[in-house]
C-alpha cells in the first residue's frame, strides 16, 4: 500500500512556507524524501530513521512521528528552485535481505515570483 501524501498540489509565492505530509498504515522503519524536477530524475533530500536519526541536506527539515506513522517535510522561505514534485517513500522489507521503498503519489509544488 502506497503511503498517502497531502496536499496533492500547492502553489506558493517566493518566500512563503509549506508543509508536505506523508502517512502510512504500516509501522515504519524509515521515511525517505525525494524531489523531482520536470524532466529529471528524482533526487534524494532526506532520510528519517526510527529512533530519531536523520540524514540529508542541511537546508531541508523534516519530522518523523513513529507512533502516528507520519512524516512531514518543511519548506521554509521557499525559493523558485524548490519547485518540483516531492515524493515520500516508506521502507518495507520483502525478505531477510531485501528492503525497498514504497513511494507515495507525490506532491506538486510550484513557487512563483
Amino acid at each position: 500500500q502506497q503511503p498517502v501524501q497531502s496536499p496533492q498540489a500547492v502553489i506558493l509565492r517566493e518566500g512563503e512556507d509549506a508543509v508536505i505530509n506523508c502517512s502510512s498504515s504500516k509501522a515504519l522503519y524509515s521515511v525517505h524524501w525525494y524531489r523531482q524536477k520536470h524532466g529529471e530524475a528524482p533526487v534524494f533530500l532526506m532520510i528519517l530513521l526510527k529512533g530519531g536519526e536523520q540524514k540529508g541536506h542541511e537546508k531541508i527539515s523534516a519530522s518523523f512521528n513513529e507512533k502516528k506513522q507520519q512524516s512531514s517535510l518543511y519548506l521554509t522561505a521557499s525559493q523558485l528552485s524548490y519547485s518540483g514534485t516531492y515524493f515520500c517513500g516508506t521502507e518495507i522489507s520483502y525478505s531477510n535481505s531485501g528492503y525497498a521503498l514504497n513511494f507515495g503519489k507525490g506532491t506538486s509544488l510550484l513557487v512563483t515570483p
Binding site: 502506497q2 522503519y29 524509515s30 525517505h32 525525494y34 529529471e40 530524475a41 528524482p42 533526487v43 534524494f44 532520510i47 530513521l49 540524514k55 540529508g56 515524493f87 517513500g89 521502507e91 520483502y94 525478505s95 535481505s97 531485501g98 528492503y99 525497498a100 521503498l101 514504497n102 513511494f103 507515495g104 503519489k105 507525490g106
Partner: protein, 113 residues
Amino acid sequence: DVKVTQSSRYLVKRTGEKVFLECVQDMDHENMFWYRQDPGLGLRLIYFSYDVKMKEKGDIPEGYSVSREKKERFSLILESASTNQTSMYLCASSLGGQGYEQYFGPGTRLTVT
C-alpha cells in the same frame, strides 16, 4: 558521485516486441531497482535485486522480468510489449540494508505502439 545510467532516454517499440531496458551503476551498490512512473500514480516498484542473481517482485511485476548477472548491471525485460506498458521507467541503486538513499538514473520513456 554515484552515477546511474540507462541505455536509452527514449524508445519506441511495437506491440508484441521483446524489449530490454538496461541500467548500470558505478558505485558497487548491492541494491538495484526498477520503477514505473505514470502521471498521478507516483513511482511504483516493478522489481528489485539485492544481490547478483537475486530478485524480488515489487508491486507491479506482471508482464516484466529482470536479470542481474553482474553487480553493476540490472536489466528489465518486457517479454511481449503491450500498449499499457507505455510509461517512464526509472532505475535506481543503493547500498544494501536499511536506511540508505537511492540514486536514480535519468529514465527511459518507452512508447509501445
